[in-house]
């Protein structure tokens, strides 16, 4: 088969197509977005179609993928690590129901928080749900493991998690494709005791999930993705996922006599781990993310032969690098040059001509009249309003939290309680919070900054485009307090006046600030 130069994310997408998926369900989120985008622009070669439009959020995406699995077909769902929090209810319970058609849950973690608010490790979720995880080290493995993931899922009748970090998702290498497989036929499950999680059924299903664990460990022990690579001693490294690359980079560059066990399939392979750990007296545990398996192997009282993130051999936070591994393996690396002091920081910023800029100008102008300035923010490009020259935002926590935090603050007596949320974030997780405020008649002012797209992740379709007025009206916001504005310099005066009026209103008001994203307008 032909070779292709693909991002790790794209390798997963190509593999899912070649594994015969009938649909992908996802909400955009760095570093997972490119998986779905690749599928959207490359439908399968055999003429079968693959459903691929963006979902409203990760929970709706996950559930739709599970529904497709119920119908007997293979489905892929993709999200960033914090997106799994949104999908967690469906995720945890899909492990109890199990699946019918193969279901692979791809979660892209972001160690070092390149584009995220935390660096949570999705392997913890998989352990929590008691499902297998595949963690490729390179792009070819991302391809191979995605295909294998669907087979494994159908064999063990569980969703399988595929975990990648930013560094693999956004790095290219050549991959060799395998022969594509046909899609599954429509064959709905119909097994009610499996799919209806009434307590009587769920207790049995949960018991079955526990009993299945040994089979999952056996699968890891016989997996071709878990293997001992080098057997020189006396020091050993257990290298998980992409940490394997950094380990091997150091071992090969400095020709180190070090044993390496590569782990890319979980739960931990018991025999392999026991064989390896019995042989070496000094073992470095190299994991990208939380020290999840280091904690397990070391134990609460700390078996001293295991080194890693708890004893400082590797840093507890941030992504791994070849240099961090070199240090942990006690290699004396050459001194390198430092960054000259003349180099200034260059943080990201709102684009020139961006509609959020004119909105923040209006907000800052109006807020000057109040002794304290609070603006509850949310997740999107407009979070950059936190930086100079605007310094406009007081909070950014999770998708949709702007509206609900403003509500809670208003309940506590804070006036005015103002928040800003993007159009796509509003449909993702904002509508329910607005409904809470309407039902309580809480005095908050919600600005929906509608640029017609999911801009931060590259301009994907926004789920509610053109319908924000009707959505707000439909859930009970009074029409005279739904105020459309156009954020432009020439409208600063008028927009400030409208904003001020609504801040003075002691009930729920929504300002829909609508102007197209400057990036999508250019396309």
């Amino acid at each position: 088969m032909q070779k292709q130069l693909l991002l790790g994310a794209e390798a997963i997408a190509q593999a899912a197509l070649d594994a015969g998926i009938s649909g992908v369900y996802a909400y955009p989120g760095t570093p997972s977005t490119e998986i779905t985008e690749f599928i959207q622009r490359s439908q399968p070669e055999n003429g079968a179609s693959v459903r691929s439009a963006w979902a409203t959020n990760e929970k709706t995406a996950f559930e739709a993928a599970l529904g497709m699995s119920y119908a007997g077909k293979r489905s892929l769902t993709c999200m960033k690590h914090v997106g799994l929090n949104v999908a967690a209810d469906a995720f945890m319970n899909a492990a109890i129901t199990g699946i019918h058609g193969g279901l692979v849950v791809t979660v892209a973690d972001d160690p070092s928080m390149h584009s995220s608010q935390n660096e949570q490790d999705s392997r913890v979720y998989a352990k929590f749900a008691m499902i297998p995880v595949l963690e490729p080290a390179n792009q070819q493995e991302a391809y191979d493991m995605t295909r294998y993931g669907f087979e494994l899922s159908e064999k063990i009748k569980l969703p399988v998690m595929l975990r990648i970090p930013t560094r693999l998702s956004h790095s290219r290498a050549t991959i060799t494709r395998a022969i594509p497989r046909e899609q599954n036929d429509l064959s709905p499950s119909g097994d009610k005791t499996k799919w209806i999680l009434l307590p009587a059924n769920a207790r049995k299903s949960y018991q079955r999930l526990i009993e299945k664990q040994q089979e999952l460990i056996d699968a890891s022990d016989s997996s071709i993705f878990n293997k001992i690579i080098e057997e020189k001693g006396p020091m050993g490294v257990i290298a998980f996922g992409i940490a394997y690359n950094y380990t091997m980079e150091v071992v090969k560059t400095y020709n180190l006599p070090i044993a390496v066990l590569k782990i890319s399939q979980y739960p931990l392979p018991k025999k392999l781990i026991s064989q390896f750990t019995g042989k070496y007296s000094d073992i470095l545990i190299a994991e990208e993310g939380y020290p999840v398996y280091e904690e397990l192997l070391k134990g609460y009282f700390g078996n001293g032969k295991f080194r890693g993130k708890f004893d400082g051999a590797l840093p507890r936070t941030g992504e791994l690098t070849p240099n961090l591994l070199a240090k942990a393996l006690k290699v004396d690396t050459e001194e390198t040059r430092s960054i000259p002091s003349i180099v200034a920081g260059r943080p990201p910023m709102l684009c020139k001509g961006c509609s959020h800029r004119d909105l923040f100008d209006a907000i800052n102008r109006v807020m000057e009249e109040y002794p304290e300035h609070h603006l509850f923010g949310d997740i999107g490009c407009y979070t950059l309003g936190a930086l100079p020259p605007y310094n406009a935002i007081s909070t950014c926590v999770d998708m949709g939290a702007s509206i609900t935090m403003a509500k809670g603050a208003a309940d506590a007596g804070m006036r005015p309680a103002l928040c800003v949320i993007g159009d796509s974030t509003f449909t993702h997780s904002g509508i329910t919070g607005l409904l809470d405020a309407v039902n309580d008649n809480t005095p908050i002012t919600v600005i929906i900054s509608d640029n017609g797209t999911t801009a931060m992740t590259g301009g994907q379709n926004s789920a509610g485009s053109g319908r924000y007025y009707n959505i707000c009206k439909g859930i009970g916001v009074e029409e005279e307090h739904i105020r459309p504005i156009t954020p432009l310099k020439k409208n600063l005066e008028e927009n400030s006046r409208i904003l001020k009026e609504e801040l003075n209103y002691q009930g729920v008001s929504v300002i829909i600030s609508q102007r197209e994203c400057i990036q999508t307008a250019r396309k």
Binding site: L5, H114, A173, T336, I339, C381, L384
Partner: protein, 191 residues
């Protein structure tokens, strides 16, 4: 054959075009390639870089280790210096001279160029001028690729072939402009 290249710039400047062309050339030669890039928040006018590794052997790390880059190819002078810890003792900086000033306290240009001179073997290129000469200011990147081409470890013809492949679907004129831009950059470097 083993080359580690950092390509640097500001989000939106198009450093990935340079990376893609080198990738294509390396692939055509049957070499291994790994190329880590930056997507997401930093693409909004922030500092961005790509770690490009080419080798005849298996490449493990997607990231270049500190002190192991043979070349920093930067399309912005201050960005060239940001990645200095990656440059090997014998490494070369090839940078465009035109600053991209989207921050409040951009350093004094003269001091910046002096620091580059003190820091490593370097070549600074007025890429804007050469791009206009080639027929399109947009060919700025490809001028820089041409200027850096003596340090990439891939033959000129192979890089030119990759340029034709890369721009091919945009038509003959775009291919010609970019080939010219590449040659002007290369001539400047070898003068």
């Amino acid at each position: 054959m083993n080359k580690n290249i950092i390509i640097a710039g500001v989000g939106g400047q198009g450093i990935l075009t340079i990376a893609s062309i080198i990738d294509l050339a390396a692939m055509n030669l049957g070499l291994q390639v790994k190329q880590a890039e930056v997507h997401g928040m930093s693409q909004r006018g922030g500092a961005v870089e790509s770690h490009l590794r080419i080798s005849s052997e298996e490449i493990y790390s997607d990231l270049i280790p500190l002190g192991k880059a043979d070349l920093i190819l930067s399309i912005e002078p201050m960005e060239a210096l940001r990645y200095l810890p990656f440059l090997s003792p014998e490494g070369v900086i090839v940078t465009a001279t035109e600053p991209y000033k989207n921050i409040a306290h951009y350093p004094e240009e003269e001091k910046l160029m002096d620091t580059i001179k003190e820091s490593a073997t370097h070549l600074s290129v007025d890429a804007g001028l050469l791009a206009r000469k080639a027929g399109s200011p947009k060919s700025f990147n490809v001028v820089m690729l041409g200027a850096a081409s003596p340090y990439i470890g891939i033959e000129t013809e192979e890089l030119e072939k990759a340029i034709r492949l890369f721009f091919g679907r945009k038509g003959e004129e775009i291919v010609n402009v970019n080939t010219k831009a590449f040659r002007l950059g290369k001539e400047y470097a070898t003068e």
